[in-house]
Amino acid sequence: MIRIENVSKTFRLGRGRRVTAVQQLSLTVARGEVYGCIGPNGAGKSTTIKLLLDMIRPDSGELSINKLSTRDEASRACVGYLPESPYIYDYLTAREYLTYAGKLSGMSSVAIQRRSDELLVKLKLDQAAGRRISGYSKGMQQRTAIAAALIHDPDLVVLDEPMSGLDPLGRKLIFDLIDELKHQGKTVFISSHVLTDIERLCNRVGIIVQGQLCYEGAVQQLTSTLDEMFLQVVQQAGMNEVH
């Protein structure tokens, strides 16, 4: 489903300083897999996701989704993306927002209506669906964004910190949702700091440190807890800054 081959990206900050965000990264995610991507802050997880979505272009290497190059916008037709902090038009109501998202993905009004009703109920937003998002709590905004990411029934779901801002009730909701996606055979790519969730949900896990993939393996084959694994890998990678 996802294929990342030898991708490198360096950012040029002001005054000639350069930051290498991603270095010769190679990664594959098979169809139907739930892949967990973890790493310290500033490791390059978000950069990798942005490269995947063609928001930024790699200096070298190639990325493809479903055998289509990321330069082709058709590669994103089956992708549902949840960004790190909810990017929301707060002057719209949840329903208008979902309608907009659906229309952007080329859905018909009938399909949009059906799916939004379904998702609003599932994410417990049906009461507030008529109010403007500016009045929502952070958790409600996050759930609205997730609904928008799923409205077009994507085959690949990319979630960047899906649990952030949610209270325990919200987290249970999302957890069950991801589980459901897993059983539906969808491919899920999660980037998160909550290692216990990664352990429980994912098939495989990859640890990225300083722009490089330092460890990759099946969750079931972990010798210790993911926590300990993570700290070990980071130490080996010789990280000297805590971002």
């Binding site: 930024i56 994103r76 960004p83 990017y87 002057y91 907009y100 229309k103 952007l104 993905s105 928008a148």
Partner: protein
């Protein structure tokens, strides 16, 4: 797809409190026009038309500078562009949708301003029927159309500048500067041409020529004098202004799309 983007852009504009403030300001200025007309002995209609059309121009300009640019800037700052671009929406179509939405917003506001202008002028005509002069209501409406085309062109320019500017304030400055220069190039060019050759340094002359052709000639869209005095507007002038406005906008948007396609959205 473009429709959905345009509609959402339009909603963002209409639901913005600034639009309400601008509308209120325009209404007050129109009311003031009626009061001011009473001070003029003879050409009351002309003065009322001058003020009504100037109010409309100013209000439309404020919408472009403070609502349009805010919408574009917020999109980039809050990364709400991701909503569309992370799906299979081509970048060119996204930008066109944005432009159409902003033009739709301008159109609606222009219609409201037209109604306000016509009401103001009708009131003045009712109060001072003998001194209304040769104001042409048809030309007043046409003047509003020209303002709309002008502001659509300015919107396209603001989109272009938002692609290259590092902050929304820079976009605001660039757009304002372009409007200021564009409004005066025709006058300055005529001034330079009428001055004797000895008075003007050739370098200045060249600079003025370049500025005249590079910057959009906003004076082309200024029909205030024509409407206020009921002068004749040749069809050729009308067609030329429309073609110029549309053509320049298309060129600017094309350039903006090219830049947007290459832009990195960190």
């Amino acid at each position: 797809m473009i429709q959905a983007i345009a509609w959402v852009t339009f909603l963002e504009g209409i639901r913005n409190k600034a639009v309400f403030g601008i509308a209120l300001m325009a209404g007050l200025m129109m009311a003031f026009t009626v009061v001011l007309s009473g001070m003029i002995p003879r050409d009351i209609g002309k003065v009322a038309t001058d003020f009504a059309l100037s109010d409309a121009t100013f209000a439309a300009l404020l919408v472009v500078l403070f609502v349009g640019i805010t919408i574009l800037a917020r999109d980039m700052e809050r990364k709400t562009v991701y909503l569309a671009l992370a799906r299979s929406v081509p970048r060119s179509r996204y930008l066109l949708g944005r432009f159409c939405g902003l033009v739709l917003l301008q159109t609606v506001i222009m219609l409201l301003l037209l109604v306000a202008s016509l009401l103001t002028l009708l009131l003045v005509k009712y109060m001072y029927p003998d001194f209304f002069g040769k104001v042409s209501f048809g030309l007043v409406a046409l003047a509003h159309l020209f303002i709309l085309v002008q502001m659509s062109l300015l919107t396209a320019l603001s989109i272009l500048f938002s692609m290259i500017a590092s902050s929304s304030f820079v976009t605001f400055l660039l757009t304002t500067a372009t409007w200021l220069i564009g409004s005066s190039t025709q006058e300055v060019k005529q001034l330079i041409e009428s001055a004797t050759a000895a008075q003007v340094v050739p370098f200045t002359k060249l600079l003025v020529e370049i500025a005249y052709y590079l910057f959009p000639n906003m004076a082309l869209f200024d029909l205030k004098a024509v409407a206020a005095h009921g002068l004749a507007l040749p069809g050729a002038t009308f067609v030329f202004a429309m073609v110029y406005g549309v053509g320049y906008s298309v060129a600017v948007l094309s350039l903006a799309i090219i830049l947007f396609k290459r832009k990195e959205l960190t």
